[in-house]
Each structure stands twice: as C-alpha cells, then as structure tokens.
C-alpha cells in the first residue's frame, strides 16, 4: 500500500513507519509539512493512504486535509490525522474537514494500527 507520512518531526515519521511496517506497509514516502505533501500528491495521486500530523510549518495538517478533500484526484485517499491536538474543537474541525480517522498522541502501536485499518475500511466502503 503506497503511503504518504507527513510530520515535521523525523522522530514521529520513524515511529509511524515502524508501526506501518508491522502491518506490512513498507512503500512509504515522507514529507515534512502539508505543502510538501500536497505537492507530492498533485504530482502522483496514486497514493493509497495518508498519515499526517496537524501542527506543522508552511501548511498545517488541517489545511492539508482540506486541500486534499477539495481535490477530485486526491480526495478519496484515506486520510488519518495523528496529532497532539486533542482539544474538542480540533477534533470537530478535522471531522468537518473530512478526516477518515483521528488518533491523538500519545498512542500505542496497536491504537495506530487500528486507526489506520479503520480508515482504510471506511474509505473502501464509500
């Protein structure tokens, strides 16, 4: 499964990649912010999963989510938000923005795997 992992912290990209590897997702491209990620997707909309942070420089995760869901070529790619933003307003904003699943840091590997698998299943049923 071709996956784009977006986070300004290399540490979190590594953690997410390690979790993805445990569910046999190894075809992973990394981006450091929403702008870089959106440019990658516009050049290659064949990605099958997006896992993104929220607070990032240049383009935040919520801006990136809205850009993805507003682009016909990209909007069907399952989008999982992995973020430290756990406040109610943030969760509501992400749901309104069309996020397929939302997981709050800190998380265990099991929780992230479950969130990703639910997002993939949800997108497959749409």
């Amino acid at each position: 499964m071709k996956t784009l992992v977006v986070d300004d912290f290399a540490t979190m990209r590594k953690i997410v990649k390690n979790v993805l590897k445990q569910i046999d997702i190894t075809n992973v491209t990394e981006a450091e912010n929403g702008k870089q990620a959106f440019d990658i997707l516009r050049g290659d909309p064949t990605f099958e999963l997006i896992v993104s942070d929220w607070i990032m420089p240049e383009m935040t995760g919520i801006e990136f989510l809205k850009a993805c869901k507003g682009d016909d070529a990209i909007k069907k790619i399952p989008f999982v938000m992995v973020t430290a933003e756990a406040q109610k307003d943030s969760v509501i904003e992400a749901i309104k923005g069309g996020v397929d699943n939302y997981i709050v840091k800190p998380f265990t590997p099991d929780k992230l795997q479950e969130a990703i698998q639910k997002a993939i299943a949800k997108a497959a049923n749409q």
Binding site: F9, T11, Q87, P106
Partner: protein, 156 residues
Amino acid sequence: MDAGFVNAYLVAVQNVFKTMLQLEIVMGKPSLKKDRLTMGDVTGVIGFAGDKKGTFSLCFSKDGAIFVYKSMIGEDAPGITPDVVDAIGELTNIISGQTRVEIEKLGYKLSAALPTVIVGHNVEINFITKVPVIALPFTFQAGTTTGEVYLDFSFE
C-alpha cells in the same frame, strides 16, 4: 498559581511517558524556580496563547535525552545528535497537547506554538510572564538508573 495547572502537567507527563516510553514517572515536590537557567543538557520549550499565555520547558540530562530517544525509536544514539534533539522536540509537543486537554477541563482554551529545543547546560530562558515560574521535578527508573526530568512552567 492554580493547583489545577500542576495537576494538568502531572497527568500529561505521566500519560505520555507511560504510553510512548513505557515508563512510570513520579513527580517530586513543586517549587518556585529561583533562577532562569536550564537544569540539564537538552530542553524542549513551547509557548501557549489563548485564554492564558505562558511557556513551559522540559529538561533532560544528556543520558536522559539519549534514553528517551532509544525508548521512542528503538535505536541507540552516540550523543546529542539531531535525531535526539528532534525526539525531545516531539516529546515536548505531545506533552503540550495532553496538557492543553487537561487545562481545557479547567475552562481555558489554549493553542500552542511549534516547539524549540535548546542544547546546552545552564542556558538562560526568559519566560515572558510576570508571575513566578513553577518547577516540577520528575524521576523515572530506567533499569538500575534513576532518570530525572525537570518541567518548568509559567501561566498568567
């Protein structure tokens, strides 16, 4: 200072350490910070704004920072590498998020800036608040070694 803020940090730090690092962490006695200097070698700093404004810092010794990196990633680091600095920044960011959830329960909405990480001992940090800085010392057990973490914060 509202004791609720101290409790917010306690809950956040314990939750993050347990979930991300599989470590039980214990808080010592809170006190008023008497100087403006960092207590360790690697310090993550984040500012908050919103219903309150303030800053908190999370300070590790060199060995403590390397241990955190290894616990998060599963890889050794030879010293305070950019990867270790990145890990402390991310850990600070996650604690910031959890703390803001706890503070929201007290009725205050806060947003956070991007974290900054300072490398160096006895570095002066100026919290841009008029109220005192609260120091929260934490310890955790890593094998036979006791690790220390220093969390300082100030809100007004």
